[in-house]
């Protein structure tokens, strides 16, 4: 292959390689500049997002994920809960984005929200933990598959779930029925109901949160 390269082709390859090298340099520079530059960038994106710039908003939210994870880890959130905290924090950021002052630190603003959401997650986990009893020996020695009470209990659970879904606001109920229970695609539901896919996704997220709250007894 190399033997077939003629001089002009070699030069062409050099140009491509040098361009690639330059691109690579720019990309890596953008991906890992120093912390201050990154934070200034996030602050500038959020300021633009407050004015309605969607591209800047999606960028700042994506760039916020590692900051949120770090703040949650500092609060002692376990790895399996991190994504919940990230999503809750992103929803909170969306609700209170008008409180960010671009002349101040974006990371401090975001970390404070993330820490609050992390504490909420730890509290609700603690409440669940205090209500549940863990008995490793019982798990091993008592199989509950053929338990005579299991079927009625499952029916009760299903009934409770149906009631909980029925009590959701119409938008959330529709999202959970169509996307969660019937497992239809976003495009199908969007086409049928005329709702935007974004609204459907947020409704699904809120419905899941409401159901979790109802079944876990969280405030």
């Amino acid at each position: 292959m190399t033997a077939t390269l003629t001089a002009p082709r070699t030069i062409g390859l050099d140009i491509v390689l040098s361009r690639w090298a330059r691109t690579d340099f720019i990309v890596s520079d953008a991906a890992a500049p120093d912390g201050d530059t990154q934070e200034r960038q996030r602050a500038a994106w959020m300021a633009a997002a407050q004015g309605g710039d969607r591209r800047a908003y999606e960028r700042v939210l994506a760039a916020s994920v590692p900051v949120i994870r770090m703040a949650a880890r500092r609060q002692g959130v376990a790895v399996d809960l991190l994504d919940d905290v990230v999503q809750e924090t992103l929803l909170t950021v969306h609700r209170v984005r008008h409180t960010y002052d671009p002349s101040r630190s974006y990371d401090a603003w975001l970390s404070a929200l993330a820490a609050r959401r992390a504490i909420d997650a730890l509290r609700s986990q603690g409440r669940r933990g205090s209500r549940e009893v863990h008995d490793e020996h019982a798990y091993d020695t008592h199989a509950d598959v053929d338990d005579a009470t299991a079927a009625p209990e499952r029916e009760q659970e299903a009934l409770r779930l149906r009631e909980a879904i029925a009590s959701l606001p119409p938008g959330q109920r529709e999202a959970i029925e169509q996307l969660g229970l019937k497992e239809r695609s976003l495009a199908e539901v969007s086409a049928e109901t005329g709702r935007q896919t974004g609204a459907l996704k947020v409704n699904l997220h809120r419905a899941l949160k409401a159901l979790r709250t109802r079944f876990n007894g969280e405030p």
């Binding site: 997002a49 407050q50 004015g51 309605g52 969607r54 908003y57 999606e58 939210l61 994506a62 994920v65 994504d83 990230v86 999503q87 992103l90 929803l91 909170t92 969306h94 609700r95 209170v96 984005r97 008008h98 409180t99 960010y100 002052d101 101040r104 630190s105 401090a108 603003w109 975001l110 970390s111 404070a112 929200l113 609050r116 935007q196 896919t197 974004g198 609204a199 459907l200 996704k201 947020v202 997220h205």
Partner: protein, 219 residues
């Protein structure tokens, strides 16, 4: 992995729902807005009672004027702190800011009591007069607290109880300062005790009620 995709999809849907927002005005500007309402009440009281009696009492007992200045500075600084705590990322340690002026207010009022013990010719408040002070401070603090809570409705205090305590302190200090305009007697132990009780009642009520009213952004 599925969770990360959920985060990505959430970011996308939040982006789809983005609308421009009006930024929260700076804390000093909102403090100024609240102080305008306090100044309007002061102007109305001065028009009704005149500045003469207040000036005469100040000339006789300068510590009353010093206590009044302490109350005004406490009101201004506590209101500013309440607005500052409404922005995520600001340090909760700002709650110590009104402490020096609070000490000045309490200290100067305490000096007034000592003077009355040394010179008992002064008109010392009787119980019924002192209860008038309590009613004045508490009833004027209600609308001033309500106004502060209303001005904080778009904020996001991550420590709502601390913010509510600052609201209580600001409104009760402002009410006590306004009381100086129509106060008919020198500060005595009964009077100081009544003022302290009124401030404690207003702060406690705000901590109980305000803390809940200030949390909607986080639910």
């Amino acid at each position: 992995m599925a969770e990360s995709r959920l985060t990505e999809s959430l970011i996308q849907s939040l982006g789809e729902q983005l609308t421009p927002v009006r930024r929260l005005p700076p804390a000093w500007l909102r403090t100024l807005g609240w102080l305008l309402a306090v100044a309007a009440i002061a102007a109305a009281l001065l028009m009704h009672y005149g500045a003469g009696p207040m000036m005469r009492r100040w000339a006789m007992a300068p510590d009353i004027a010093i206590a009044g200045v302490g109350a005004v500075i406490t009101a201004v600084s506590a209101a500013w702190v309440a607005f500052t705590l409404g922005v995520p990322g600001r340090s909760w340690r700002w709650v110590w800011l009104p402490l020096p002026s609070l000490l000045l207010w309490v200290g100067a009022s305490g000096l007034g009591c000592m003077r009355d013990w040394l010179g008992p010719n002064a008109h010392i408040a009787k119980i019924n007069e002192a209860s008038d002070c309590l009613i004045f401070i508490v009833s004027l603090s209600v609308p001033l607290s309500a106004l502060l809570i209303w001005l904080l409705r778009r904020a996001c205090p991550l420590r709502p109880v601390l913010a509510a305590i600052m609201i209580g302190l600001a409104s009760s200090a402002a009410s006590a300062a306004l009381l100086e305009i129509c106060h008919a007697f020198a500060v005595a132990a009964t009077d100081l005790l009544t003022h302290a009780m009124a401030v404690a009642i207003v702060v406690a009520l705000n901590a109980l009620m305000g803390g809940r009213l200030l949390q909607p952004a986080l639910k």
